[in-house]
Symmetry: C2
Subunit: 135 residues, 2 copies
């Protein structure tokens, strides 16, 4: 497994490794409170700063949601602080409420007259594959 921290020139500390482990335990994006529950013990401020620097370095990305706290997910290795290179859709399931980064073969393109588009982010909602199977 790649060393995410060293790759991004961040010091390897036990706490940061533990936060990354929590991300690794989920295949979906997770909220701050889920991260907190996944940690043995944590300092609120340190966690806040850890998430902040992970975002800045492009280790994780934030998925902003209307009416509820943001979720976070690990980035591709090609992401940097400046540019996120995700070719995936953020999918929020209306049943189980989880947010997932779904890889998509052909990412939709969009043309807006008079606008110069540099980045596209797509958030879909509906029923995820796990919940579809359960029905």
């Amino acid at each position: 497994m790649r060393n995410l921290l060293k790759d991004k020139k961040l010091s390897e500390t036990p706490f940061r490794k533990e936060v990354l482990e929590v991300f690794g335990n989920y295949s979906n994006a997770i909220s701050m409170s889920v991260i907190e529950k996944g940690l043995k013990d944590y300092n609120r401020i340190t966690l806040y700063r850890t998430i902040k620097i992970f975002l800045e370095k492009g280790l994780i990305h934030e998925i902003a949601l209307s009416g509820e706290p943001s979720n976070y997910a690990l980035c591709d290795s090609t992401c940097s602080s400046e540019l996120h290179q995700h070719q995936h859709v953020h999918f929020k399931c209306t049943l189980c409420e989880t947010v997932t980064c779904v890889e998509v073969a052909e990412f939709p393109s969009l043309h807006l007259p008079n606008y110069q588009i540099e980045q596209l982010e797509i958030q879909a909602s509906g029923i995820c594959k796990v919940c579809l199977k359960k029905e």
Copy 2:
């Protein structure tokens, strides 16, 4: 002009009308702090509750943004609390920083195998038409 408040079965109060006026003064989406600056005088809690009920009734919609406070914009008349029927893209300009709801002729469609998509939200970023002209 349509009476937005009565349409949504909300009492018409001077304050609510003033908040709607502020929205009317902008062609783009606005943040809480912009709303505050546009009001003569306001009570923090009342404003908070006003925005909340406007959202619930589908009078306005929230545009959640990563790393910064949400923006808000007036909805189409067809929107309700349950379902937002926007056929527009949320465009964030990297130069002037404004967020605009851009109507688009053909809204992109997306198919994700094993997922049932109910709603799509697209957030684009780049350079808006105003800033393109200035260059």
